[in-house]
């Protein structure tokens, strides 16, 4: 949690997260054409940073449960944000590494929280600059509503209606000390990022 957070609700425990990821892995598997070679026609694209960890966990499940080899790409959409002129601070640019050609491939964009839809818009633009995917679907752990753009997820871990002053914190052991999902209120006037 951030220092200014007041926890309002513990939305998901570590066990809840595992269960929901199992279910979402099934939903991803359903979208993979069984007659095609998944490694060559399908790909998961994790958005920095927690989307990357979620994508890796899904990749593991698809390998263990379905025997499917699916590549994972890493995407940072910072360079495509629409608010460079509006912010006092510059968000840190993180690595982008898509180790496959996106053209003609079916992609699933993976992120932890869907909020305004602006990050997803940036991510879609970034993907389109890299080629022409056959399709792009969107998977998010939490859909907290309050969209500012016409963006809709295809696979959702859990829908959580929230208010503008609140934040949803998805914490994963790969990146954080804890694991789970929390609804918090923030003191700060933090700009709406995602």
């Amino acid at each position: 949690m951030e220092p200014t957070d007041h926890v309002k609700a513990h939305l998901m425990t570590a066990a809840d997260l595992q269960r929901v990821l199992d279910r979402m892995a099934r939903q991803v598997a359903e979208r993979i054409d069984p007659s095609a070679d998944a490694a060559a026609t399908f790909g998961l694209v994790g958005l920095q940073t927690r989307g990357v960890h979620l994508a890796r966990r899904l990749q593991q499940r698809l390998r263990d449960d379905d025997g499917l080899t699916v590549p994972v790409g890493i995407l940072d959409a910072t360079m495509y944000r629409d608010d460079v002129r509006l912010r006092r601070t510059r968000p840190q640019v993180k690595p982008t590494d898509i180790p496959f050609d996106v053209t003609g491939r079916h992609l699933v964009l993976v992120d932890d929280v869907l909020y305004t839809g602006r990050t997803s818009r940036s991510a879609l633009d970034a993907l389109m600059d890299m080629g022409r995917p056959a399709s792009v679907h969107m998977l998010v752990m939490i859909d907290r509503g309050l969209r500012e753009l016409p963006i809709a997820p295809d696979i959702v871990g859990r829908e959580v209606p929230t208010l503008p002053g609140e934040e949803v914190r998805v914490r994963l052991r790969e990146a954080d000390a804890q694991e789970g999902v929390w609804l918090v209120a923030t003191d700060g006037t933090g700009a709406r990022a995602g």
């Binding site: 951030e2 958005l47 920095q48 940073t49 927690r50 989307g51 940072d76 959409a77 910072t78 360079m79 495509y80 944000r81 460079v84 002129r85 509006l86 912010r87 006092r88 601070t89 510059r90 968000p91 840190q92 640019v93 993180k94 690595p95 982008t96 590494d97 992120d111 932890d112 929280v113 869907l114 909020y115 990050t119 633009d125 970034a126 600059d129 890299m130 080629g131 907290r144 934040e167 949803v168 914190r169 998805v170 923030t186 700060g188 933090g190 700009a191 990022a193 995602g194």
Partner: protein, 319 residues
């Protein structure tokens, strides 16, 4: 990333990039880190991102320059900024217009950011007092050339995990070199050991006060050295009597294959353009341990990072 507010590492403390003398180690690290990520864009089939869309950059070049000018122009285009170019020749400067008037006219055209190269030390500082936009120094006389030093440091960082304890020697005309000055400030800030080497006529007096080692002997400079950076020798310094002949300079300060054999891990850098057979023997320039061309590639990435981190922020606008 969505719900972590702004991934809030603070932006640079400085509004302009005039030199590295006042930049902190954290600020330099932030620029280098950002540049590493921008490098990925340069590997793509479509080498362009929309990051600086709507931001206008003016390149003010009062002095001839090929690679710095090209490198800035490419960096600006790769970030989708709108670019206007101005060079002293063919402009009203040749009609006697002052730097201040030129700058204010350009500012009146609503430019957000100015990149300036000028033969007078302090020209970039002066510009910050004339205009409201952000100023990036692309070389001012013998003062500083910060983006060159940053790209040099990015290139070194690719070969070494840390600057702490790294031994770098800079060889040549230190007195007239803005590249040397910026590198000394940047490298010292990050904890490297810097040795300056050159004929005493081309070494400034009391330069030791910058916390560097000074020697007039190349073999002494290269002892235990990780990176040797040779500077371009301006040939007009010979007519000024600062060194007797190119051949004698090469004999004393030119890096040859023998030096590479004696120091099997030594890397060679040069800010370009190289006088082959003067600062560096021709086969040293083409040697696998010469990393001169990666310096050029890194130049675009570093300038993208600087533009991204400094581009106009809210409240900065004059309007």
């Amino acid at each position: 990333m969505p719900d972590t507010p702004a991934t809030a590492t603070p932006a640079l403390q400085h509004r302009h990039l005039l030199g590295l003398a006042t930049y902190s180690a954290d600020e330099i690290r932030r620029i280098l880190q950002t540049a590493r990520e921008f490098r990925e864009v340069l590997e793509r089939p479509i080498k362009r991102v929309p990051t600086l869309r709507g931001i206008t950059v003016c390149n003010l070049f009062f002095e001839p320059s090929t690679r710095t000018k090209l490198s800035f122009a490419l960096a600006e285009k790769r970030l989708s900024a709108d670019v206007v170019n101005f060079s002293a020749s063919g402009s009203s400067v040749s009609k006697g217009e002052t730097l201040k008037d030129t700058a204010q006219n350009i500012e009146a055209m609503k430019v957000d950011l100015c990149v300036i190269r000028h033969n007078s030390p302090g020209a970039a500082h002066f510009l910050t007092r004339c205009i409201n936009g952000v100023v990036i120094n692309a070389g001012d006389g013998a003062h500083e050339h910060p983006t060159q030093a940053l790209l040099d440091m990015l290139t070194m960082r690719d070969h070494f995990d840390t600057f702490e304890g790294l031994n770098v020697c800079i060889i040549g005309d230190i007195t007239h070199s803005r590249v040397a000055r910026s590198n000394v400030f940047g490298l010292k800030a990050l904890g490297a050991n810097v040795t300056l080497c050159g004929p005493s006529t081309l070494l400034p007096v009391e330069v030791e006060r910058l916390g560097v080692r000074v020697t007039h002997r190349l073999d002494e400079a290269l002892e235990g050295c990780d990176v040797a950076m040779a500077l371009r020798l301006q040939l007009e310094r010979q007519s000024a009597g600062l060194f007797p002949s190119l051949r004698e300079y090469h004999e004393q300060f030119g890096i040859t294959r023998t030096h590479l054999t004696q120091h099997p891990d030594l890397l060679i850098m040069h800010p370009g353009p190289v006088n082959r057979g003067v600062e560096l023997a021709s086969d040293v320039v083409d040697h696998e341990r010469s990393i001169i061309l990666s310096q050029v590639t890194n130049g675009v990435a570093v300038r993208m990072a600087v533009l991204y981190l400094l581009a106009a922020r809210p409240g900065d606008d004059a309007a």
